[in-house]
């Protein structure tokens, strides 16, 4: 278990103020927060790159506040990979084991094993400069995980990857976490990563941890305006996916939402990532989101080709100038947006029965 007690550090542009945080064994903690909120310095302080000015850090009951990075069993993966360009992929992965004076035979076995796990065995003789972004990040993760660290720190590991590669690697991370049960702290800006990976989320702002909780707590009940604005995502639901007539059906609290069968990354990428065995969301717990502006609101049922149509009641109306936000309870709470003109024409009041309609393609599953 990792425990930070009132840790403070001032690096001029970046600060940590009185940060206290506990991460359980095998837990996947995601840290989110605006740029410059101190996420990276928090990670680097845990790794031992910077010594905190105040406070203490414990790992598995041992005080590591003043311990050198090499004795901490904490490994770090950066957004921009930081692979050593003068070494081959294989030598990069073996780098840490070599510092630990592990025997050549054992290094070979471990490097082979972790390369296999990450699907990069075929890249072993190559130089990092010749790899794609996704491949580089796999190597960087392999280089860290092969050390079997107590805590693995991932600083925006997926942020510089393209959409498809990012999604693949995200699943890979989940698989690695399940395989090794390593404690992981993962910094991101991407809320999909939060929902698909995090056991818990910590929100940082201006060097402080402002809220810690499950992803749903953070997104549904943000503690302050900053978090609400920062997470800025409405209409997120957790449900169970199943297949139905070529579409994905997600059951959320008894309500069936139909999503277009986007299949979750079944398409082949051309960046050398290996193909994924998972071809859809079926039979798994997933998150679905619908953007408020994709939802049509009406007083009578709409005759349209849209697959999702629910009836409910207006719960709350927030008149915000150009756009009017309307919350509708259809069993689960939806937020929709209307233009001022549309809102005035409809003459909506709290408590009015209304219908919500949106297309299956408007449902985003992750």
């Amino acid at each position: 278990m990792l425990r930070m007690e009132k840790v403070s550090k001032n690096l001029g542009d970046f600060v940590l103020k009185d940060v206290s945080l506990e991460v359980g064994d095998g837990e996947y903690l995601v840290i989110i927060g605006p740029t410059g909120s101190g996420k990276t310095i928090l990670m680097e302080t845990v790794a031992g790159i910077y010594a905190p000015e105040e406070g203490r850090i414990f790992l598995d009951g041992r005080d590591i506040t003043r311990e050198a990075p090499r004795n901490r069993r904490v490994c770090m993966v950066y957004q921009d990979y930081m692979l050593f360009p003068h070494l081959s992929v294989e030598e990069n992965i073996a780098f840490g084991l070599k510092s630990r004076k592990v025997s050549a035979g054992e290094i070979e076995v471990k490097v082979a094993e972790v390369s296999e796990l990450l699907g990069i065995s075929h890249l072993r003789p190559r130089r990092p400069g010749t790899l794609s972004g996704g491949e580089k990040q796999r190597v960087a993760i392999a280089r860290a995980i092969v050390m079997e660290p107590s805590v693995m720190l991932l600083d925006e590991p997926l942020s510089s990857l393209d959409g498809l590669t990012r999604e693949r690697l995200r699943r890979e991370l989940k698989r690695i976490h399940q395989a090794y049960r390593t404690t992981i702290i993962h910094v991101t800006h991407n809320f999909e990563e939060v929902f698909s990976l995090a056991d818990r989320v910590a929100v940082m702002n201006r060097g402080e941890i402002v809220q810690v909780g499950t992803p749903e707590e953070i997104f549904r009940r943000p503690k302050c305006e900053m978090i609400a604005n920062f997470v800025g995502v409405e209409n997120i639901f957790r449900g169970f996916a199943s297949k139905s007539r070529g579409m994905t059906e997600i059951v959320v609290d008894g309500l069936k939402i139909v999503a277009a069968a986007e299949g979750g990354g079944g398409a082949e990428g051309n960046d050398g990532d290996r193909s994924d065995e998972i071809n859809g969301w079926e039979g798994r717990e997933v998150f679905a989101s619908v953007r408020p502006e994709e939802i049509l609101i009406s007083k009578v049922p709409l005759k349209s080709s849209a697959r999702n149509s629910f009836s409910g009641r207006v719960e709350e109306i927030a008149n915000g100038g150009m756009m009017v936000k309307v919350w509708v309870d259809v069993g689960i709470p939806f937020m929709t947006m209307l233009t001022r003109l549309g809102y005035e024409e409809m003459d909506l009041k709290v408590g009015d029965p209304v219908y919500l309609t949106f297309k299956a393609t408007a449902v985003h599953v992750f």
Binding site: P69, V74, M76
Partner: protein, 235 residues
Amino acid sequence: MVLTRSPPETLLASLSSKEIRFAIGLSLKTSVASTILCLLVAVPAAYSLARYDFPGKNVANTLIDMPLALPPLVAGVGLLLFFGTSLPGRQLADAGLVFVFTPLGIVIAQFFVNVPFMLRVMRSTFEGISPRYEHVAKTLGCTDGQALWRVTLPMASNGLVAGSVITWSKGIGEFGAVLMMAGATRMRTETLPTSLFLNMSCGKLDEAISVATILILISVVCLYVFERRVGGLRL
């Protein structure tokens, strides 16, 4: 112009003269020694300037850059005064380290004129390498020294090679500071540029031109290596 002035046979003949061979030998020895000295001083200094913040860093940077703008002749006078007349200079001489009018003086003159160049090349090389490489290396079991040795220095190899080559070639061509510090004694402190000067002033044109040819060849080769290695470095 210089290259076509004399036929190749004459050049080869003067190249094999005892005097020119001495000059080549002395130039090689002193320039290699001063380059090594530059490396030993500039690499740690440049690394500290690139990685750490400390009080007086700006002043240090300016002091280091100053000799770049100083005419080598003036630098030579300064060195001569320091080693010839100051107390520390005389103490060094008493201890057996005589710099004035000796080959040792040549090395020191080359070193002082060239170390700012080496420093600049190395500083921008180190600045171009993200400290995060070292951070990662440290979490992978390296001490600070091992991280430098196993990661940063290999990554800086282009800068190291380029800096050494430029320093070496400038060292071989250094004249003003060397003249002041070591004088121009035939067969004693006669480096290639000094030899060019001596031969030219007493009218031995063939010898002078063969020396010039060697210097031209050295600079062309060095420039080529330098450009290959640090095309993109900001200096």
